[in-house]
Symmetry: C2
Subunit: 173 residues, 2 copies
């Protein structure tokens, strides 16, 4: 975690996945208020091999970083997967995401799914639909964001905004 | 696996790890003979955070690819780790390695540690020291290569050379 949270700090949340990488961009305003900026997913063709798909993810991440210029990129930590193969695939994508952030000079932070749920709803095992509704409410949106990966990425961004404020507050900032 | 094996096909083996990424470059000559070209490790400072270390791995991989221009890069597959955290770290490095190969137009192949041992020694659970001695013998070196990660990377490169020939032979090439 890094950076001073002032009005309109921009945070990009990233949810690395195998089928799609979710992204969500949020501006942190004063107090506990946020502005929705953009969200979506990076998808790569299934018929391509892993190295080519990873290269496409890096290219698209570069475009997103240049377009939105976030102050911090908050990336979901890999916590647990039943399937070791899926774990490896997601971690490979996550490696590329962290690398391109560092190579372009963007600060990164990471949160587990449980931290994100706890931060947004007060309950680390909250239902997915409840988290999605909370994200929409916090961002003053009339409906939940689709697809799920994009909503998850926005949740990570909001989590970082709140956690950073908490961290600064605990330091007396 | 791809490419036609002719004399002096160049293969770069990569052994992704947390402390170091091993590399080994081998020229495949006619028959079952090989020429040692170079080997070593990419090391990144432990005090740096993961994104910066991944960015350094990508930079160094780029230099190696430009210096040695391999026909194929053979990367060790992630097979099994007792520790999930280690698994994620290695997979993140592996993702960056596969990505930079694809982004630079290099073909990649992958082999599990068991495939490599089987290919070099005929026994998938051969002792590490025996594999290292076999690598040295196949490359006409007077002593085993150090550090271990570099020797492992050379083993992966030799494995790819042999496996490719086998694949071509089975197709009647």
């Amino acid at each position: 975690m890094s950076g001073k949270i002032t009005s309109a700090t921009r945070i990009m949340g990233i949810d690395p996945g195998t089928a799609a990488v979710g992204f969500g961009v949020v501006d942190k305003l004063d107090g506990d208020s946020f502005r929705y900026v953009n969200s979506g997913i990076i998808q790569t063709p299934k018929h391509l091999d892993a190295p080519k798909r990873l290269a496409m993810i890096r290219q698209d991440m570069n475009v997103l970083l240049e377009d939105f210029k976030p102050d911090t990129v908050a990336v979901e930590a890999i916590f647990f997967f039943k399937n070791a193969k899926t774990l490896v695939q997601v971690a490979q994508a996550r490696g590329v995401i962290l690398e391109v952030c560092a190579a372009s000079g963007y600060a990164t932070a990471e949160y587990t799914p449980m931290q994100v749920k706890m931060c947004l709803t007060g309950f680390g095992r909250a239902e997915k639909s409840f988290v999605q509704n909370t994200v929409a409410a916090l961002l003053n949106l009339n409906q939940i964001i689709k697809p799920d990966d994009a909503s998850d990425a926005l949740a990570i961004a909001v989590c970082h905004a709140r956690m950073s404020v908490t961290a600064l507050a605990s330091k007396g900032c």
